[in-house]
């Protein structure tokens, strides 16, 4: 789902940075209210956890693998703003410390995966958990992948219309919405199933672990 550098026009990433910066500031203030010796290391730990969850390969039938993101799990367990900050920090770390991902794509990825993904997951969890907890967790994981993928597909697909030369040739990502939407969203509908299962199992495991640590 990550967009590498060079495919997003400045007409897109500069406003996205302005929006993301405002939201990062707001999220930091929200988290900062609870920030003390207990919460600060937890932000770091969740960031490292999100980083490593993105490295865990989820095997798919046929020999291929997809990568977990852990967005749904982070949002359900630790709240939307914390998940947004953790995912944004992971993306920044990947771009600026490990050279993976892109600095121009960072705000788009952070807004899509960190903000929209986290809050979609949280909404599904809060709305459905009283009806069926497992279904709510599964949908939280599934939505945290599929909705950001759709958003990323829309941003990519808009690039030829936003940035093109006098002859109409694209300056950045060259394919329109008719190609990006099916190409990006359809595989993520399947990846979302694996992410949903990870969210259900991860939540159960984390709940058990927390009660064991508290005891």
């Amino acid at each position: 789902m990550h967009i590498p550098d060079g495919f997003i026009s400045p007409q897109t990433y500069l406003p996205a940075y302005a929006l993301a910066a405002g939201l990062w500031g707001y999220a930091a203030r929200r988290v900062h209210r609870q920030l003390d010796a207990d919460t600060l290391p937890f932000v770091a730990a969740y960031t490292a956890l999100a980083f490593v969850l993105m490295m865990v390969a989820l095997p798919l039938p046929g020999g291929t693998t997809a990568h977990a993101a852990g967005i749904g799990l982070l949002a359900v367990c630790f709240g939307g703003w914390m998940a947004f900050l953790a995912i944004s920090l992971v993306l920044a770390m990947q771009a600026l410390l490990f050279g993976d991902g892109g600095i121009t794509a960072l705000p788009i990825n952070a807004l899509a995966m960190g903000l929209v993904g986290s809050f979609c997951a949280l909404a599904a969890w809060k709305l459905l958990t009283r009806l069926h907890e497992t279904l709510a967790l599964f949908l939280a994981g599934w939505l945290s992948i599929v909705v950001p993928a759709a958003l990323v597909a829309v941003v990519l697909g808009m690039q030829p219309a936003i940035a093109h030369d006098a002859q109409g040739a694209p300056l950045f990502f060259p394919f329109g919405l008719s190609i990006t939407l099916p190409a990006v969203v359809l595989p993520h509908v399947l990846v979302g199933i694996a992410e949903g299962v990870l969210t259900v199992l991860g939540y159960r495991y984390l709940t058990r672990l927390r009660s064991r640590l508290a005891a």
Binding site: P4, D5, G6, F7, I8, S9, P10, Y13, H32, L35, D36, A37, D38, L40, P41, F42, V43, A44, A45, Y46, T47, A48, L49, F51, V52, L53, M55, V56, A57, L58, P59, P61, A68, L89, V90, M93, L96, L97, F98, G99, D100, G102, I103, T104, D165, A169, P170, L171, F172, F173, P174, F175, L198, L201, G202, Y205, L206, L209, R210, L213
Partner: protein, 184 residues
């Protein structure tokens, strides 16, 4: 302004410039400048950048060439511009990572530096552990592991990461509290 913050500002200005320029000649000149700045590491930097972008750019370029052929338009300018820009941006990022210390560049915020430092050190530990888990599965399997074996291995790795991150958070909290981090 310290050296690393200056490098960060120059890097961000370079990124912006590389996305505002659309002439392949200028993009090529930018890439040549980055390689010149890399000095003796130029070839290694170029190789690393090429490997990093190879898979994604090959798919995009081939698909676009096919679409252009189908629509009877020339794809060359778009393909050269796109690939040069991506290569320039990736090389610039790798050069920045090699030359600058991000932690010193961001030291205007104590909280941000601490979170980034803690997260980075744990991420490095986890990355090493991830490689160890992968090698452990490979070394204990005579044949290619089955789908179920790979599920079990992924689940075991994920549960180790969850447990480790909770323990690490508790340990860091105790360390910060004992050193009076929040009362400095």
């Amino acid at each position: 302004m310290n050296r690393d913050r200056l490098l960060l500002c120059l890097y961000l200005a370079g990124i912006l410039a590389a996305t505002l320029v659309h002439d392949p000649v200028w993009l090529g000149a930018g890439l040549a400048l980055v390689l010149l700045l890399a000095g003796g590491d130029a070839l290694r930097l170029l190789r690393r950048a090429l490997l990093a972008i190879l898979a994604f750019n090959a798919i995009i370029s081939l698909s676009y060439a096919l679409m252009a052929w189908w629509q009877d338009i020339s794809p060359w300018l778009t393909l050269v511009r796109l690939n040069l820009r991506v290569l320039l941006l990736t090389s610039l990022t790798f050069l920045f990572i090699a030359r600058a210390n991000l932690f010193r560049a961001l030291d205007f915020s104590k909280g941000l530096t601490y979170v980034l430092g803690l997260a980075y050190s744990q991420a490095l530990t986890f990355r090493r552990a991830h490689e160890d888990f992968r090698l452990a599965l490979a070394s204990r399997s005579l044949r290619r592991p089955s789908l179920m074996d790979r599920y079990r291995a992924s689940a075991a790795a994920a549960s180790w990461y969850l447990e480790k991150s909770l323990h690490a958070a508790n340990q860091s909290a105790q360390a910060l509290r004992s050193r009076g981090f929040f009362h400095d």
